[in-house]
Assembly symmetry: C2
Homo-oligomer: 372 residues x 2
């Protein structure tokens, strides 16, 4: 099918299918099941997860093994934190916008969600300080690197000040860092977990590094906290998936991960550049934060544009968009917000997608308000 006739999805943040290391991972899965850890892979095990992978991660992050827990993807840790650490009615802060699935889980647990406006270099810390002066939350959830959905990266100065504030007001930090290994330019900044390991829970996963299908997420934190979460995990599913974790372990332990990340960075950074270039050319009125890595770039459209009208016009052009309101603690704040995940589209699809987007934006801004 010609590209002009194909539907294009700027919707979910999924990896590009051509990046999955099928042959290597098949080899690793088979070795994991047949190899020296076979019984550990096949039998019920500790709810903290497959020990060899926990050890490998501990070594990589320079923490003791009892600081590492695995789960079936990292999202599930949020559920466990809601069950094992927080109480209904507790206050939790997030960046506004933030990852939509995090908001869903925080709401599931009856938590009060407060949003701190996001700026180009991370959350507005003056706004945060004003909030902390009024009510100290139990937890603050942040995505410092190549944030989902905005693409913003928190500056070093803000990381240091955020940690200082967290210490002064005794706030626990939950750092979600699945995109951190996917930096396409600039130099890596210290994680919040590096700066304040005593009060930070650090979540990541192999979903964006190897494949979602292995379903292996991990959490770094204090052993006392992990013990509570491990009890919740045991009550929920006894043992996390071991075949996937063991395959990932073999993959990492054989040294395949570095090459995999290198090729992901090459592929994705080109796609990000194409998106930025095409946006500048075809949609100069849109505002966005230029990402340094990750999966997402998000634009804010001109005043008067509504998400619903835009998505309807886009759909008529076979361009599927996510509702930007889903990323905001107060949904109406996202009326003009649009997330554009760029990793799973080819450069041609990105260019064609932006062309359709510019056309849909044009149509939407020509419509009288309330016409859709």
């Amino acid at each position: 099918m010609d590209i002009a006739e194909r539907p294009i999805n700027f919707t979910r943040g999924v990896p590009a299918e051509e990046t999955f290391p099928l042959d290597l991972l098949a080899e690793c899965a088979a070795s994991a099941i047949r190899g020296s850890h076979a019984q550990q892979v096949m039998q019920y095990g500790p709810s903290l997860g497959f020990s060899p992978l926990r050890e490998w991660l501990a070594n990589k992050h320079d923490v003791p093994t009892d600081h590492v827990m695995l789960a079936n993807g990292s999202l599930q840790f949020l559920d466990f934190i809601g069950l094992g650490v927080l109480q209904r009615g507790d206050r939790v802060l997030v960046e506004s916008p933030t990852y939509d699935r995090t908001l869903t889980l925080l709401r599931r647990h009856g938590l009060q969600i407060g949003g701190i406006p996001l700026q180009d270099d991370g959350p507005d810390l003056a706004a945060l300080e004003a909030v902390l002066g009024q009510e100290v939350p139990k937890l603050m959830y942040v995505i410092p690197d190549f944030q989902n959905p905005s693409g913003a990266t928190m500056s070093l100065a803000k990381r240091e000040r955020l940690v200082a504030l967290a210490r002064r007001y005794d706030v626990r930090l939950l750092e979600d860092a699945p995109y951190r290994p996917l930096r396409y330019r600039g130099t890596q900044l210290p994680a919040l977990f590096d700066l304040a390991p005593e009060r930070t829970l650090y979540m990541s996963s192999f979903t964006k590094q190897i494949s979602p299908g292995v379903r292996v997420g991990y959490l770094l934190g204090e052993p006392a906290m992990l013990k509570k979460l491990a009890k919740v995990a045991e009550d929920t599913y006894i043992t996390p998936n071991l075949v996937g974790a063991a395959a990932v372990y073999e993959f990492c332990q054989r040294g395949y991960l570095d090459n995999q990340l290198k090729s992901l960075r090459t592929l994705y950074s080109e796609r990000m550049d194409v998106l930025c270039t095409t946006l500048r050319e075809l949609l100069p009125s849109a505002k966005w934060i230029e990402p340094d890595g990750g999966f997402f770039l998000s634009i804010t459209l001109a005043e008067g544009t509504t998400n619903e009208a835009l998505r309807k016009n886009a759909a008529a052009l076979q361009l599927n968009l996510s509702d930007g309101r889903g990323f905001f603690p107060v949904p109406s704040d996202g009326e003009r917000f649009l997330r554009l995940p760029f990793c799973a589209l080819t450069p041609d699809e990105i260019r064609e997608g932006v062309r359709r987007l510019a056309q849909a934006v044009q149509q939407t801004s020509n419509q009288p308000v309330g016409a859709v």
Copy 2:
């Protein structure tokens, strides 16, 4: 180490390690990742789970594919049912005793748990009818085949009457059937799901059939109900583990499961027979239900024996026992109850374990009450 010096565990119901089909499963996992479903195995997918395995199960159970959902083990369905179908404060009935992890999850969701006494041929339906006349529960959870922990199997007459009662009082049934393929004698009875598919949710898994480490459970039920649970699952972990599910699919689709089940039945039925024979010989005072399959036999000890005293005396003999009280909605009802999982012990270990148990029972009954 000589068997007399080895610790013996009559604790958890785990499969025997020597039964894990390592080579076949390694072959299946590699094929799943490399084969024609590779992209479906590696990428995010529907929260209902890996479609080819859902189709295989649908065919096996003679239901449409939209009646099948997968999860990371079957326990997790209970959590999803608590989140997506029930409300805090709802009444749920269980057999007394029942699976301890079910009780933990029902309590997590703030449900009111009522216990129906278990008899040799299933729950006491006169007691159930009396309860139903007073308050109709939202759900009744039962394990009709080779019940955990008692080993009891519900008779055909009781299955039919239970279904008739459920229809009359409009009660939803949750049938937990992980041991059902492991019948060692007698003939298979219809599942509650066979008798009343419109009101039964049927849970099972490959944990006892292939391996816990694959973490693949499944649920059969009405599509409208599965749709609700799939939404909860998506919010929890997006997609269940796919590498494990795809390996299981390959294993089933290649016809390996039948042989695997045959060899499990041969191995485990011998172990069950050794346990029964040795109990009759060394512990004639104990009462138990003779199982026809599954993983468990449970004994009820003589009046005056307490779980805590017995476990302490047993531990001194290097015999580890579970606290029988954990299996009862009212824990004190399990004071003299002891679950003996027999699958993961060799015949010699079973004989030695029962020898130590008889000795511990003897010591405990000689102690004045309150001496421990």
